[in-house]
Symmetry: C2
Subunit: 161 residues, 2 copies
């Protein structure tokens, strides 16, 4: 028996969850040394992308009006600056793994309670006036974008294998 | 004025279209030589991924019951076999670019006429009996998966810059 429905909103949430699981699988298979490797010569390291994806998911909390970020300290190192910016000491892979899972479990808890009206309502980065003209700028669209964004970096992380 | 709506189905179609546009942008900026490069040492070449994404989109036509593939000859080289399989001579980048655009224009023509019922109906790779128990195996979910899949390879193509 499948628990999945044909509801388009739940299809999007389910696909976001699938992408998270793919990162979980990499965490279960890559060694800490693999995470320190560059995805291609001179490009981001795996650990940077892990921190980046964690920070991006964490930022969904305030963007969806669900609360504050859990780990705001990730923003400067993994969102606002590129890999190897002087002055940042990265957390360990184990620490980032814990944060990754905490963020996603927190989001899942909220998502389980969100109604269609909530999903199709505006996110906090769009004003009410703009949203009236641009109703596609809703939370569901953000989650869809983030899912594709995660796929984008998973394609790169795959190269660490 | 935005033409976009909050309809979850149209959000998914719109995100698929955005990913196609990102490939179009790469086609407008990369030289034919860049497409011949590997995304990382020993990995797929850009031209293989371009053929792969074209073949994947082309396969949506029969999968959605919209007709036959336009370019079935791409399947063996770009879907069923990895890059550098002996015995395949690749089309030129210019030829693949034409096929890419023809496939997407054809799909767009169909998508413009598809109703919600059609999107949420089964695709041709799932039987009616299985679909009764697994209603999430609909066309919309396939398009969502393909959009993320395209993001996955766009993350790799980005490395050719």
């Amino acid at each position: 028996m499948s628990t999945q429905t044909a509801d388009p909103i739940q299809l999007v949430v389910s696909n976001w969850r699938s992408q998270n699981k793919r990162v979980d699988q990499l965490l279960a298979t890559f060694t800490p040394e693999q995470w320190q490797k560059e995805i291609a010569p001179g490009r981001n390291r795996g650990i940077y992308l892990l921190g980046h994806l964690t920070a991006v998911n964490d930022a969904l909390l305030p963007l969806f009006g669900l609360g504050e970020r859990l780990f705001p300290e990730l923003e400067a190192a993994f969102l606002r600056n590129p890999d190897r910016t002087p002055g940042f000491e990265f957390p360990s892979v184990e620490d980032l793994q814990d944060k990754w899972q905490t963020v996603n479990a927190t989001l899942e808890g909220h998502f389980a309670k969100m109604t269609a009206e909530h999903w199709l309502g505006r996110h906090t980065a769009v004003s009410e006036a703009d949203f009236a003209n641009e109703p596609h700028r809703n939370k569901l669209n953000v989650l869809l974008n983030r899912t594709v964004h995660q796929g984008f970096h998973l394609g790169q992380l795959e190269l660490l294998k």
